[in-house]
């Protein structure tokens, strides 16, 4: 029987359509059908200035907007050859890790909700509220922050921000203990997730999986540690790696990542350097408001950057970061003008989604829901 697990479904985490060929409760074949959220962002980026693309990048993987910002901004800075001051780099790492925790909280809440554990969902979203308030404090926006700009940050963090972050970082590890208390040792959780939707390491690499989907199968590779960017080499953190390649291994990886991320946030707050938050590049980075209002040159630079943009030397660059879902990359081709020639987003979820048939064929229909949750897909990133 051919069954359609249509785009409107509470467990597909977005508008994903799965065409299932089933025999009783067993899956014979599974085929994902995507494209319901395609908005043509890659085409739109070709019509905008480089600085105008930053708000577009927020909306691609809408659960970790700051990570998308970071990837795009690092790629353009590589094209321009800009030096970013240390305070901006540490702030970027700190907010990136808070975003990782944010994304994993949504993952844990919705994954547990699909499998039936409804309390975890409300607990996770209670912590997410605190993080969203921190983002609102620093950038004015809860989700689509666009806080990282080409050349540094948009604004100085306000007074009292670091105290709030420190306070959150002190409270959070005990909350992760709460979630683990409810799920990790729970026999129902174990029966639904252990041994389910297994994928071997060779299959995962061949199918292009990355992030926790790859690490759950035993491959120890993390872009933050192995190919560091934006100051990650100054931070000490462990990378949790699973062994079995099933849903439970991926769950343990992500919960471990939440703990490591909050430790990194604490390291960042304690070691935050002083200094400017924007690079010294008057033709690229907008000047301070006060300088713009009092100095003629700053006003001229501001006017030119906003109306004409800045020309980026010709060339191409591929910058990848470790997003909560895996390797997110931006491939930007420039031909010397103020608008990019081609912007391509390498979506971690698109490659991870290819592992779904291998994981689910031959298993029960209920395992498909657990598998989709464990890959942690976001349709905005798949469809762009």
């Amino acid at each position: 029987m051919i069954l359609n697990m249509g785009p409107h479904h509470p467990s597909t985490h977005g508008v994903l359509r799965l065409i299932l060929e089933i025999d009783g409760e067993n899956i014979v074949r599974i085929m994902p059908d995507i494209g319901y959220l395609h908005t043509g962002i890659e085409k739109t980026c070709e019509a905008k200035f480089y600085q105008q693309v930053v708000p577009l990048t927020d909306r691609i993987d809408y659960l970790c907007p700051l990570t998308n910002n970071l990837c795009y901004v690092l790629a353009v800075e590589k094209l321009l050859g800009l030096e970013i001051p240390p305070k901006a780099q540490w702030m970027r790492v700190m907010l990136n890790e808070l975003t990782r925790i944010n994304s994993h909280l949504v993952w844990l809440g919705t994954h547990a909700l699909d499998i039936g554990a409804m309390t975890v969902f409300l607990y996770c979203f209670r912590e997410r509220e605190d993080i969203l308030r921190l983002f609102e404090m620093v950038s004015g926006q809860r989700m689509m922050t666009s806080y990282f700009r080409i050349g540094g940050l948009a604004l100085e963090p306000p007074l009292g921000f670091f105290e709030r972050v420190k306070d959150f970082a002190k409270r959070f590890p005990s909350k992760v203990d709460e979630y683990e208390n409810l799920l990790t040792g729970n026999p129902i959780w174990g029966m639904r997730t252990k041994g389910v939707a297994r994928i071997t390491a060779e299959d995962a690499i061949a199918l292009g999986a990355s992030g926790p989907t790859l690490r759950g199968s035993g491959i120890d590779f993390d872009l933050r540690r192995d190919m560091p960017y934006s100051g990650y080499e100054n931070f000490k953190f462990k990378v949790p790696v699973g062994t079995d390649g099933d849903v439970f291994a991926r769950y343990m990886c992500r919960v471990g990542e939440m703990r490591e991320s909050i430790a990194m946030v604490q390291q960042a707050v304690e070691g935050m350097p002083e200094g400017p938050i924007k690079a010294v590049a008057p033709k690229v980075v907008l000047p301070d408001r006060e300088m713009m209002k009092t100095q003629m040159e700053a006003l001229i630079y501001h006017f030119k950057i906003v109306t004409e943009g800045f020309a980026v030397p010709a060339g191409e660059v591929y910058q990848a970061v470790e997003s909560p879902r895996g390797e997110m990359g931006y491939y930007i081709v420039s031909y010397g003008t103020a608008k990019p020639y081609r912007v391509h987003m390498r979506s971690a979820c698109l490659a991870n989604l290819q592992t779904l048939p291998t994981m689910c064929e031959g298993r029960l229909l209920a395992d498909v829901v657990a598998a989709i949750g464990s890959i942690d897909i976001v349709l905005g990133e798949i469809d762009r």
Binding site: E83, I205, A206, G208, M227, Y318, A320, L350, D383
Partner: protein, 165 residues
Amino acid sequence: MPLQPAITDLEQLKQHPAIAALLAWNPSSVEGAKFDREEMSVYVERSSILDACELLRQNPDCPYNYLADVTCVDWFPSEPRFEVVYHLLSHSKKERVRLKVRLDGGSPALDSITAVWPAANYFEREVFDLFGIRFAGHPYLRRILMPEDWEGNPLRKDYPVEGYR
């Protein structure tokens, strides 16, 4: 870091493991190379892309075991019009390399590399959908993002940003 000028001379770059492996196997497969902003790009000749990918995956010095991305750039109206770009990553050596294949605009076709990495499946479908490049040997070459009955290839440069509807 301030920008260095790009190095495009093949003589200077042939020590790089990917280029050395390709030149040792078939010197005519490498049409050129560029080292710019600390990234290596290799222009591969069209008919040798499948063998080149398999060779790089098995390369003992630096095995590029992971396909990160397959995409395309449209250089309309100059010819060769399309450039299909492959990004490879070596987990063990933490190195990336970019392979580029130039295609003419007429009826662009290329070998599919799904035999080497099944990961190329969705990426090549996306390039077929949005640019119109056919991949020979692909198990299921259909439109992936646009609806099945869509006409035209939206990411080509002669397709307007606003669309036709």
